[in-house]
């Protein structure tokens, strides 16, 4: 059986291989690898205990709190990639939160999943992870659109259109860029990549068909959450580059 402490310790051999490569090739990564190994061990064990507790208590408020903390961490991660990090954090946290709660809420309302933490929390994790990537990509792309297309945007503004009309092209490009990883996932899922949820279920002993059904739900859920996060992040971040008089402000 996979998952005993003995197996975990044996898997450390693979880390030793990696450290060996770093040592002999003089990559100077041994310290980072050791810290990373220790950190991931401690983090995952702590999360394991925390999830055990949440699963045992099965309390709705506790589930919501866990999801909220995950959303905040996602928002911080996505927001930290922008210059105005407080605005980036606020925008990405809001958009990730809306995407996540809307998607999970819809799955619950439709009766696809039950309000059981063992379903809700892993699905929330996947949703938030993918939405975080989408929000980070949207923030970065919108910044480069504003910077690189300044002349085109100002030309449009000078003709008396609103800032939203002036950046419509950039807005679409940003949303598309933010959704590309999820769209690619949809195209290759099962053919090239066996995604985490499916792999996990198969490893845990579920039949491949059962795993596939869950994975299909996950893919649909991700595309919905990512669309929402990408659109909201793009629109809100766009608005931070303009004054109320439709003047482009970018350094």
């Amino acid at each position: 059986m996979i998952g005993g402490i003995k197996e975990v310790l044996l898997a450390l051999v693979l880390v030793a291989v990696s450290i060996g490569i770093s040592y002999f090739r003089k990559l100077d990564l041994e310290k980072d690898l050791l810290i990373g190994t220790l950190r991931s061990f401690v983090q995952l064990i702590a999360v394991g205990y925390a999830l055990e507790l949440v699963f045992d208590l099965n309390n709705l408020w506790l589930i919501l709190l866990v999801i909220l903390i995950m959303v905040l961490v996602g928002g911080q991660t996505a927001g930290s990639r922008t210059k105005g990090s407080l605005k980036g954090f606020t925008i990405s946290t809001f958009s990730i939160g809306v995407g996540t709660f809307f998607t999970l809420g819809a799955l619950l309302l439709l009766g696809v999943i039950t309000a059981d933490p063992k379903y809700v929390i892993p699905l929330a994790g996947m949703t938030i992870g993918n939405s975080t990537n989408a929000a980070a990509l949207a923030l970065e792309r919108m910044y480069s659109e504003m910077k690189n297309k300044k002349d085109q945007i100002e030309q449009a503004l000078s003709l008396g259109v609103t800032s939203t009309q002036a950046v419509e092209h950039s807005f679409k490009a940003t949303v598309r860029a933010a959704m590309i990883p999820t769209l690619n996932l949809m195209k290759i899922v099962g053919l090239v990549q066996l995604p985490g949820a499916m792999t996990g279920m198969i490893l845990a002993g579920a039949s491949p068909l059962q795993a596939v059904k869950l994975q299909i739900i996950v893919v649909y859920m991700l595309i919905c959450a990512v669309s929402i996060a990408a659109v909201i992040t793009s629109r809100l971040s766009q608005s931070t580059y303009f004054t109320k008089y439709h003047q482009l402000v970018i350094s």
């Binding site: 002349d151 085109q152 100002e154 030309q155 449009a156 503004l157 000078s158 003709l159 008396g160 259109v161 609103t162 009309q165 092209h169 004054t243 008089y245 439709h246 003047q247 482009l248 350094s251």
Partner: protein, 250 residues
């Protein structure tokens, strides 16, 4: 047929100096009055604040102090989107939006297609282009054609004032003369008030009823184009006209 007045207009901007941001005055208390239907050229070396002046009138930027008036009304009291349609800015490098020329001409308009077709042909004629241009891909136009389409696109909004930021700087001599003639025709036919930025002294003489010389953000001289450009009073204007003024001077 609008009169434009600038009253002690100052524009400050944060500029990077090493790792620090330093506030710099791009325009320093500029007073200027442009009469209705007048062509006023603005001359000055690079970095003297000429483009900023036009951006302030089009309200792409805000004045730091002072005020700008259009027919006696502070532009801050006007709805900004309407202001930009009435006071149109044509950029040094004409930017074409993706698509055909007709899509560029229709940009930002809310008129019926039929009316829009007539208007488009009329505006293209005003810039000496025929209606065949409507179906041309805007990205495949020459720089001279782009500048004409850019002017036509501006005219679709029926402006009262044209702000032209060195519209001929990228053009060859023939295209430059054609655009100059076009500007004069538009001024006479449509009774437009025109502010025209140029580096070219002879162009200012050919075009402008009046010229203004801006140096390091200050208006140093203004008056009849022929008089000012041939016999400038201000020592800095004299140096600029002789081509002896470097940007850092003053």
């Amino acid at each position: 047929m609008f009169k434009i007045e600038l009253k002690k207009v100052t524009r400050k901007r944060a500029v990077k100096e090493g790792n620090n941001l330093k506030e710099m005055e791009v325009l320093k208390g500029v007073d200027l009055s442009v009469q209705p239907e007048e062509i006023c050229t603005i001359l000055g070396p690079s970095g003297s604040g000429k483009s900023t002046l036009l951006r302030l009138i089009n309200r792409l930027e805000e004045v730091s102090s002072g005020s700008i008036h259009l027919d006696g009304i502070d532009i801050k009291e006007l709805e900004v989107l309407n202001l930009r349609k009435k006071v149109s800015l044509v950029f040094q490098v004409p930017v074409m939006f993706d698509g055909k020329v007709e899509e560029n001409l229709r940009f930002g308009l809310k008129v019926s297609d039929e009316k829009s077709d007539e208007e488009m042909e009329k505006c293209l004629n005003l810039v000496s282009l025929d209606s065949n241009f409507l179906k041309r891909d805007s990205q495949e136009l020459s720089i001279g054609e782009r500048q004409r389409v850019s002017l036509a696109r501006t005219l679709m909004h029926k402006p009262e004032v044209l702000l032209l930021d060195e519209p001929t700087s990228a053009l060859d001599p023939t295209a430059t003369l054609q655009i100059e003639k076009l500007i004069k025709d538009l001024n006479q036919e449509l009774k437009l008030t025109i502010l025209f930025i140029t580096h070219n002294l002879s162009q200012a003489q050919r075009l402008g009823h009046r010229c203004v010389i801006l140096i390091a953000g200050e208006k140093v001289e203004e008056g009849d184009s022929q008089v000012v450009l041939q016999n400038p009073n201000n020592p800095l204007s004299q140096k600029f006209i002789r081509g002896e003024l470097v940007k850092e001077e003053k």
